[in-house]
Amino acid sequence: MKKRVLALVMSTAMIASVLTACGGKDDSSNNNTPATDTNNTATDNSNASADNSSAPAENVDYGTGEITIWVAENVQTFTQDQVKAFQEANPQYAGYTVTVEPVGEGDAASNMITDVEGGADIYGFAQDQLARLVSSGAIMPVTGEYATWVAEQNDAGAAAAATVGGTTYAFPITSDNGYFLYYDKSVVKDPTSLDAIVADCEAAGKGIYMEINSGWYQPAFFFGAGCTLTYDLDDAGNFTACNIDYASENGVAALKAIINLHKSPMFVNGSAASNATNCAAIVDGTWDADTIKTMFGDNYACAKLPKFTVDGRDYQLGGFGGFKLLGIKPQTDSNKMQVCLAIAQFLSGEETQLARYKAVSWGPSNKAAQQSSDVQADVALSALAAQLAETIPQGQYPNEYWQLATSLGDDVISGNYDNASDEDLMAVLETFQATCKSYAGQ
């Protein structure tokens, strides 16, 4: 009796899978036709999943289950729609109920680390969190065809950002995590010199905004002055060495420039455009473009970051170019893992990246998507591109680094170094450097 029931269940399942598979084939081929140059991606898609699961994807019954995705709030609806479309196009995955929750990219990593099992299956995060996620075991390595796909499809920086110690861990979705200058044309006449911008803002009584107490914006000065700060990692995501030369003449020059900027009465520490009031210039990223367009109206303009002058020498502000990634948490169920991989791949594929750019102006990391005419014509993105030429791709930094940089910035803002001599500043930077090294056990 038992056996018969089992057989019945089995055969029903098989029929069901065959049926869904047929539907799936149909739908996906239909879906692939409209855009000719996406065919490439689409074929890669099916190939990749096929190889990893060692059977044609269409014939596998992935069963049912629940998948949670965490993304930033402003792409929640977008992601929901995309996943829905994906599941309709690929009914073999339709047994899974996908929930998209708005969880900020900053919180996502912390939450994942706190409780891996309770966390999302797929989650978006800024790439500086990757090492933390790897070392705490909250992210699954992406292997085989998927890893190759990530490397082939995305620009080199993005692919590198998704990698720790030679292993790929994530799917890049944007390459636009960099910052540049937005300014009000009617106030700022010469956006190429920091001193001139400050002077213009002071004359107009309007604020100049930059978040100098953030470990992300602050290196614009240090890197611009020619300093370096990078970390080496081992395969497990642990930091092994810190390459830093902040405690040098260049470092002192950079710190002096930060102090000079802070001394301006019109300087405001901050980078959130929506919280800025009375602003004429702000160092910010593409995600705030719309807010700033409204704020500046017809006088909206962007440029790469200006040059700053210390002791008669000019330096070009540098900084980080960063990426946003999608990670998958380690899965215990093989079928669910395949589904997660497929969804993550889809969400980071060319079509989705373009659609995402159109929906919320996130600059794509996919090479083909970057060539699209819409992306090429974007003012903010071209300013970013110009700035990215001056920056280094952001690698991995220990969590403590961000706090340390905030501390340094806060010290500047509280006026601790207003009257400091070069020797004092050198001493500060030596402490900074030693502390940075201590995070890598040096």
Binding site: A72, P102, G118
Partner: protein, 283 residues
């Protein structure tokens, strides 16, 4: 004499008016900002008071079912109501036992609880999270979880209520017992009706706490927006970069929370005063 009195009263009024302005100013700002349009006049806390145009955009956003605001509001209301009722029951039970009965271990229990109260609460947060998770009371089940956390250990907060019971003469109990009532009857039929102010006070304080609970609630409900309470949901609007331009919506939401609670509070103010005063004297 009367002239001196007039002058000193005048100074008194002047001080009181200044104090009132200082105390009311933030609320006035909050109300004004909530009527600023986040579309026409974007920005955070702009540096002017009166919005250039009066608009209901923020309220429209909140009342739109897609914003989930009323779901969060409902969650908080459910949590607050249950915690309020259950916590009051627990506190009354403990207070009666400690005030009216003498049993072995009573002194020890009181001292032990006093010491426990000196440990900072966050210490136990992560532990409670995993404990609740074991019973499925996190994330999707966060609301019953938060109710449980809210009242389960509330017996420790018996001080004010016990102090109040202590002031009710024991001779009343004894008279009732001579008439044949057992302790349960003394407690429910005699003592509870006499304790109306303290019951209302306890319930009111317990009711107001969940509206402010950000820390625990965000921890227990993380990543599952359907179980957020208003504090967790709205805290994100002002504190994270994902939510640009939500400031006026925060003000409007804050107002929608503050108004009913304030009205409730004002109605029960008499009992609240009795509770805090009694509590202060009894320590």
């Amino acid at each position: 004499m009367s002239r001196r009195n007039k002058i000193s009263n005048g100074i008194g009024y002047a001080i009181l008016i200044v104090i009132s302005i200082i105390w009311l100013f933030p609320f006035v700002c909050l109300v004004l900002q909530s009527f600023r349009s986040y579309i026409l006049e974007p920005g955070g806390q702009v540096n002017y008071l009166l919005p250039k145009t009066f608009s209901l955009d923020s309220y429209k956003f909140l009342f739109d079912p897609e914003s989930k605001f009323f779901r969060w509001y409902g969650n908080t209301l459910i949590i607050a109501t249950f915690v309020s009722v259950l916590q009051t029951i627990f506190v009354l039970m403990v207070s009666y036992a400690l005030s009216r009965m003498r049993f072995k271990g009573r002194e020890f229990l009181m001292r032990f609880w006093l010491v426990l109260g000196m440990f900072p609460g966050f210490l136990s947060m992560i532990c409670l999270y995993f404990l609740l998770k074991q019973f499925g009371l996190t994330q999707a089940g966060a609301i019953p979880g938060l109710i449980l956390i809210g009242f389960a250990s509330s017996g420790m907060g018996y001080y004010v209520c016990k102090g109040y019971f202590d002031t009710i003469p024991k001779s009343l109990d004894e008279a009732a017992r001579i008439d044949g009532a057992n302790r349960f009857q003394v407690f429910t039929i005699m003592l509870i009706p006499l304790s109306k102010p303290i019951i209302i006070y306890t319930a009111l304080v317990a009711f107001m706490a969940p509206w402010c609970d950000y820390i625990f609630a965000s921890y227990i409900a993380f990543g599952y927006s359907d179980s957020y309470n208003v504090a967790v949901a709205m805290y994100r609007w002002v504190m994270t970069n994902d939510y640009q331009g939500y400031f006026t919506r925060f003000c409007a939401g804050g107002l929608l929370i503050a108004v009913p609670i304030t009205i409730l509070f004002m109605c029960l103010q008499k009992y609240y005063v009795e509770g805090v005063t009694g509590g202060a004297v009894k320590g």
